[in-house]
């Protein structure tokens, strides 16, 4: 059965909400009443439940299967976290309640901050970044503010970014007004040490570096390179995307980081939710800490306070670079992450990162003879392969990925990092069992053998067992249809075409 759009299920006059009609009375709308209907469809509560239940069943999810997405850290999302985030004492708090009525919530933020600082060894944390990319922005803005204070903002214009970095790194650096320069990788898949050293200088504001990097390899030179950059007056931004390999074993401070965002929705188990909400608290070194954005959590005799103004911050010796969100950040995500940290504890976190690395190496070893591993092991929490094993088969990494769908697995990350050709980046995380890993390895081996045996047509036709076969992404981008519009036949003449073809030049 196909599932129509909500708008195609419209039953005029029906609502899934029974609020009573208010008594007629005066209005004070100043003549700004809405004219004409909105166009929202009417559905009963049963119709809504069935619609979304059916839609949900067209999704893959970590609850239903392994997500070997490299650099995405798709681990299990504990249900206790959800229960805790929904306690009325957390969920039903207004952000502007008097501070004396929310001391427990502020204590949650403080306690989470303590964990993050302890695990990274950095002294301060800005909790408010709403996601990893905003955390990067937070870090770079703090660096910019520090440079400004040093009077070097105009001279230090360059941010070095590893070739293998996530796209958010250069995008963020550019959004902060820096000039982005890529640093190449060497044959070992690490940042090229010589190239880096050669580039360090008085015009470099910072380096953005992921460690372990997106090839799943530990950047062994990181402490040394960081020292070199620090000596030259630059800062080190460490991308926390791959923190899951390090938690409880390696501290960012010991790798020379001045700033690092932490994806609570990856490393600390809060759900991805089909694309958010996440949270990207950013830890900061002593040099950057004063520039952390508002609000700043501050402990005083009367209890926890939120410093919300520049004046208030300055009175405490701080120079915030600004603010990133309307209130105090993703509080609901903080509760979930703290629940996870408490549940895992020091020993559990250390075991988890170890198991994550163990699992990745188990996959690397289990597949190295049939897939082409890009670098020798050991890897950290993810294993990188490239498409050499598909040479002359006519099958691409994409075809291979789609064939995995028919075997019941979500594909791994494809075509990233860009430093190898046709990359297949596999991150199992620690919450996959040995039985699942064995099954995954068996499926991957079988697919690789079938690919090499020349079963091209089957791969090109995949997926066949998914809710949809391959979708035409080109058409979607060339003629974007971003919303439903009533069919032309149904009365009011459709202006759907205007959503598609209006030229950019009609822009005022």
């Amino acid at each position: 059965l196909e599932e129509p759009l909500l708008f195609e299920l419209d039953t005029p006059g029906v609502s899934g909400i029974d609020e009573p009609e208010p008594e007629p009375g005066p209005t004070r709308l100043g003549g700004l009443e809405r004219e004409g209907p909105i166009g929202l469809p009417g559905l009963s509560e049963p119709a809504v439940v069935r619609h979304y239940t059916r839609l949900s069943r067209r999704n893959y999810s970590i609850d239903a299967g392994m997500y070997p997405l490299g650099s995405c850290t798709m681990k299990y999302n504990p249900r206790l976290n959800e229960r805790m985030a929904r306690l009325p004492g957390f969920a039903d708090l207004h952000p502007l309640q008097p501070e004396k009525t929310v001391q427990g919530a502020l204590a949650v933020m403080a306690e989470l901050g303590r964990w993050l600082c302890a695990l990274t060894g950095l002294p301060a944390v800005a909790l408010s970044p709403a996601a990893g990319a905003q955390g990067e922005l937070c870090g770079l803005r703090a660096i910019r503010a520090a440079l400004r204070e040093r009077g070097e903002l105009d001279t230090r214009r360059v941010v070095l970014v590893a070739e293998s970095a996530h796209g958010t790194n250069p995008a963020t650096a550019a959004a902060c007004g820096f000039k982005v320069e890529a640093v190449p990788a060497d044959a070992r898949g690490r940042m090229d040490r010589a190239a880096f050293r050669a580039r360090v200088g008085a015009d470099v504001a910072a380096v953005m570096l992921t460690n372990p990097n997106t090839c799943g390899l530990f950047e062994s030179d990181a402490p040394e390179l960081a020292r070199a950059l620090h000596d030259a007056g630059g800062f080190v931004y460490m991308d926390g995307a791959n923190l899951n390999a390090l938690v409880g074993r390696v501290r960012a401070v010991d790798l020379g980081a001045d700033a690092m965002h932490i994806n609570l929705h990856k490393t600390f188990s809060t759900p991805h939710g089909g694309g958010g909400p996440g949270a990207g608290p950013t830890v900061l070194s002593a040099a950057l800490a004063p520039f952390a954005p508002l609000p700043v959590l501050w402990q005083e005799e009367a209890g926890w306070r939120l410093i919300e103004t520049m004046d208030g911050a300055r009175a405490r010796g701080l120079s915030p670079f600004g603010r990133l969100s309307g209130f105090h950040g993703q509080f609901g995500v903080f509760v979930r992450a703290l629940a996870y940290l408490l549940a895992m504890g020091r020993d559990g976190l250390r075991q988890a990162s170890g198991d994550a690395v163990l699992n990745a190496n188990y996959i690397l070893a289990g597949l190295s003879d049939v897939l082409s591993a890009s670098y020798p092991g050991p890897c950290m929490h993810e294993a990188l392969f490239d498409d050499r094993f598909l040479k002359d088969t006519g099958i691409t990494t994409l075809d291979f990925a789609k064939a995995m769908i028919d075997e019941g697995f979500h594909p791994m990350t494809m075509y990233f990092p860009l430093v190898v050709h046709g990359a297949l980046l596999i991150e199992p995380t620690e919450t996959e069992s040995r039985a699942t890993l064995d099954q995954f390895i068996a499926v991957m081996r079988d697919l690789a053998l079938r690919a090499r045996a020349g079963d091209q047509a089957a791969f090109k036709a995949a997926p066949r067992l998914a809710p949809r076969r391959r979708l035409d992404e080109t058409q979607a981008a060339r003629h974007p249809v971003l919303r439903w519009a009533p069919p032309p036949s149904s009365g009011a003449s459709s202006d759907e075409s205007s959503f598609r073809t209006a030229p950019l030049s009609s822009n005022p």
């Binding site: 196909e2 100043g30 004219e35 949900s56 004492g89 952000p95 996601a131 796209g167 163990l358 971003l482």
Partner: protein, 449 residues
């Protein structure tokens, strides 16, 4: 360690397969000094579910839930009744634990839901297209400023004094990344700021809010015309989208971009986050829109399906040339909002808006009778600013001690403007029972006498 599936035998077997003596051996690329430095003497070891629950429940008990008594707080975070269905559906593992839908064949659930969300947002804002959500209203507002800069190739962003000050601050921070060209007007409780007079050929956009932070409904028609005459965009901010069930949407008044905070219709305020930023614009500007977009297409069998689209704008492809560095949205909150709107439908949404307004009119009428109290806006939806005869901050603290969260005092939002200290923002929703309204009126009367 209940979240870890391996038993000791599994680890031993896997290490044996690898020919490695220990997990620690796999960390041999990490300098020994770095490994040795990592000790965490102050962190506790793992705990069972009961212990974690007890710890967090004790922290939760140190807060006063807004719903534990009368509550009139708004100012960008609203408390609406969210039907049980919404949270039940959002918690389905297939939605909650799914990744970003990059593999469309096995992500049609999320994709179709977001396509429906985009349509709903376009409908209620009166715009042509919308994106699949942003972090929150404040960051959506800031992104609107950035987008206007890109579209117009101009730098200057003019922010009305009626825009929520936290939104203005976020916009300054984010839009100032490269330039320092955002001008925020002073807060303007009486609505006499002259925006039109300030628009000129250097203006990228004017950002204005309606209902504004003082609750005042604004007619944007003339301002939109003025912007368009100068080649600038008009950005409208809505912090209470339920208003759009009753009042004319910015899209119908000429706005080019509408941003809003959807939290109030999606879930509880959760101490301010996560929220969900709505972002809608005109079709012509679609390719300059930041954030994730879901588009309709067909699969190989010709069946309708949905995909993430126009991703060439985004950072994984464009890298430093991306429209924005944003990489996630607020998918699950957007889903919650969409489910709620699906339940409401045309009837429910407009009726709920009427209910909210009727309660606000009633409350305003009663409060205006208190000696020395003035209701500032003439036209409002479900929230309005009061001018008290005394500073509002202490009044709020006093009433809080008596169990009434009376509203947001001026000093909380505008600490830098002592002349707004007597302002108190008061909001009502359908969750406000008559007895609570009595409690506020009586409490204020007493506090002011």
């Amino acid at each position: 360690m209940r979240y870890l599936p391996h038993g000791p035998a599994d680890r031993a077997h896997m290490l044996e397969t690898l020919g490695e003596p220990s997990i620690e051996a796999l960390y041999r690329d990490v300098p020994a000094a770095v490994l040795q430095a990592a000790a965490f003497p102050d962190l506790p070891d793992h705990q069972g579910e009961r212990a974690v629950e007890a710890h967090l429940a004790a922290l939760a008990a140190r807060n006063r839930p807004a719903g534990a008594g009368p509550c009139f707080l708004g100012a960008g975070a609203m408390r609406h009744h969210i039907p049980a269905v919404v949270d039940a559906l959002v918690q389905r593992g297939e939605f909650m634990t799914a990744y970003t839908p990059y593999q469309p064949e096995i992500s049609q659930g999320t994709l179709q839901a977001l396509f429906e969300f985009q349509t709903q947002v376009a409908l209620i804002t009166g715009m042509e297209v919308a994106n699949a959500s942003m972090y929150d209203g404040a960051s959506a507002c800031a992104e609107a400023g950035l987008m206007a800069q890109r579209v117009t190739r101009r730098a200057r962003v003019l922010v009305s004094g009626g825009v929520h000050p936290r939104y203005a601050a976020t916009t300054v921070t984010l839009a100032d990344g490269a330039h320092e060209a955002v001008e925020v007007l002073a807060p303007d409780p009486l609505g006499i700021e002259d925006l039109i007079g300030r628009v000129n050929h250097e203006t990228a956009c004017v950002i204005v809010q309606t209902p504004d932070v003082f609750g005042r409904l604004r007619d944007l028609t003339a301002l939109a015309a003025a912007c368009h005459d100068e080649g600038a965009l008009l950005v409208a901010v809505v912090t209470e989208p339920l208003a759009l069930g009753l009042v004319r949407p910015p899209g119908a008044m000429g706005a080019d971009i509408v941003v809003a905070e959807g939290q109030g219709l999606a879930g509880p305020p959760s101490f301010g986050g996560p929220g969900v930023g709505l972002f809608a614009t005109r079709a012509a500007l679609m390719r300059q829109m930041p954030g994730r977009l879901v588009g309709q297409t067909v699969d190989e069998d010709g069946r309708r399906g949905f995909v993430l689209t126009l991703s060439t704008r985004e950072q994984h492809i464009r890298r430093e040339k991306a429209t924005s560095n944003i990489c996630t949205n607020a998918g699950l909150v957007a889903l919650a909002l969409s489910i709620h709107l699906a339940l409401l439908g045309e009837e429910g949404f407009t009726r709920l808006a009427r209910t909210n307004h009727a309660l606000a009119v009633d409350l305003a009428t009663r409060l205006a009778r208190l000696p020395g109290v003035r209701v500032l806006p003439q036209a409002f939806f479900n929230e309005f600013a009061l001018l008290l005869p005394v500073p509002a901050g202490p009044v709020v603290e006093t009433l809080a001690d008596r169990g009434v969260l009376a509203g947001v005092p001026g000093e909380r939002l505008w600490p830098d403007y002592p002349e707004l200290a007597e302002v108190l923002l008061v909001a009502v929703t359908e969750t406000t029972p008559p007895a609570d309204i009595e409690a506020l009126v009586d409490g204020l009367k007493e506090a002011l006498s």
